[in-house]
């Protein structure tokens, strides 16, 4: 019996019929999605922190307005994704607890510091660019609520990348110091950005199952290569360079070759030893704790109003 339910499920997935929350699904599929979607949501929420750092120091009112809008979008993206995860049976509070207790992971990229204004440009171009590369195929992922959330996210994400590239473009045409600042930001963000696609395919044990279930559509290495190819061309318009001496067009492969990734650094940051892991988690927890009185007041107010309404109805 169990077997045949699983066959029906796989058959639907193979035929590109979306799985909806109340449909039967293998427990492992449910758990994989809860983990992936909640991690994704946490990344959006923690992702607000490095950029929020520059809202009060943006160089102009225009840049400040844009950055506020972008950070607000990230909050929205987190909310779409938390809602999608909730349809699988986990509560919002459980997910918050997993994040705040350090049990849940979020994208390691947000454990790097934002040292200059150019970092906001580099984050938009590279970090959001890598995120888009990952997210566009997720618009066709097999679980309906996740796919729908991703369509919304991708529509909004495009402005994030364009505003980042524009920041770098303006800096690259500015003074020598401004151009140097842009290059410095790219130097620091390039490698962490290409690590965003996750471990190499042969060290990513869940990939095969996720591809069979069409949660994932492309492997980590495929997406990483695509991202490198795109960036290697885009950087030419900035008149700056990518900090990789091995980056070279390979005619035979039809792709850019690139240098070795420092996987030791990747795993150290994943394990919690990146430059800002502690600070990010503490800031996030503090924000949650400082908001407790607001949540309590809103609940008390709603309760009081409900009582008043039932009194006047009686």
């Amino acid at each position: 019996m169990e077997n045949s339910l699983e066959d029906v499920f796989q058959d639907k997935v193979d035929k590109e019929i979306k799985i909806e929350p109340r449909d039967w699904m293998p427990e492992k599929y449910r758990q994989t999605l809860i983990r992936q979607i909640s991690q994704h949501a946490h990344s959006e929420i923690v992702g607000m922190l490095p950029e929020g750092n520059w809202i009060s120091r943006a160089p102009s009112l225009k840049r400040k307005s844009i950055l506020i809008a972008k950070v607000q979008d990230e909050a929205g993206h987190g909310l779409y994704l938390y809602s999608a995860a909730e349809t699988l049976g986990i509560t919002r509070d459980e997910m918050y607890n997993q994040l705040h207790s350090g049990k849940a992971k979020y994208s390691s990229i947000f454990n790097y510091p934002t040292l200059s204004w150019a970092d906001i440009g580099a984050i938009g171009w590279l970090v959001d660019g890598a995120a888009i590369m990952n997210q566009v195929p997720l618009c066709r992922t097999s679980f309906g609520p996740y796919a729908r959330a991703m369509v919304r996210v991708c529509k909004e994400e495009s402005f994030h990348q364009r505003q980042g590239f524009e920041i770098l473009l303006v800096l690259s045409k500015g003074t020598v110091a401004q151009k140097r600042m842009a290059q410095d930001a790219i130097n620091r963000w390039w490698w962490p950005s290409i690590m965003m696609f996750g471990p190499k395919d042969d060290e990513s044990p869940n990939t095969l199952q996720s591809m069979k279930w069409k949660i994932k559509r492309f492997s980590n290495d495929e997406l990483r290569q695509k991202f490198v190819d795109v960036c290697a061309e885009q950087i030419k318009l900035l008149d700056l360079h990518i900090p990789d001496n091995d980056l070279k067009w390979n005619e035979a492969r039809g792709h850019y070759d690139f240098g070795k990734i420092n996987w030791d650094e990747f795993w150290e940051v994943v394990k919690g030893n990146g430059p800002c892991n502690k600070e990010r988690l503490e800031t996030r927890k503090k924000a949650w704790e400082n908001g407790a009185w607001v949540r309590e007041a809103a609940s008390a107010y709603a309760e009081k109003r409900k009582q008043r309404e039932s009194l006047s109805a009686a």
């Binding site: 779409y80 309590e296 809103a298």
Partner: protein, 98 residues
């Protein structure tokens, strides 16, 4: 004194009319303490780019959904009634405006 730390805000479903003349369409869900807050949160979460001219919110617990396991029997009555579709009728090509 009620504490919301272990009693979270209820879930609401959000429906948006994207422009005058169109139906409200399900946009997503969110948590809020009451209807007014749900409305304001829906505005911030789902209409940051003028995606709507009208918002409905309803507490999720009030929605009754059909059971996908019963889909076969639920929709069975319509299954064998092809004559409800205009293409069922075989008419000569000469018939115009029909």
């Amino acid at each position: 004194m009620m504490s919301n730390e272990n009693q979270s805000w209820p879930l609401w479903e959000v429906f948006i009319r994207s422009k005058q003349g169109l139906d409200h369409k399900h946009a997503g869900s969110l948590h809020a303490a009451d209807a007014q807050m749900a409305m304001e949160n829906a505005r911030d979460v789902y209409t940051r780019r003028m995606e709507g001219v009208s918002i409905w919110v309803v507490e999720s617990k009030h929605i009754h959904a059909s059971n996908p396991d019963e889909a076969a029997s639920l929709y069975d009555p319509a299954n064998d009634k092809a004559y409800r579709h205009p293409t069922f009728y075989d008419l000569p090509d000469e018939v115009k405006h029909m």
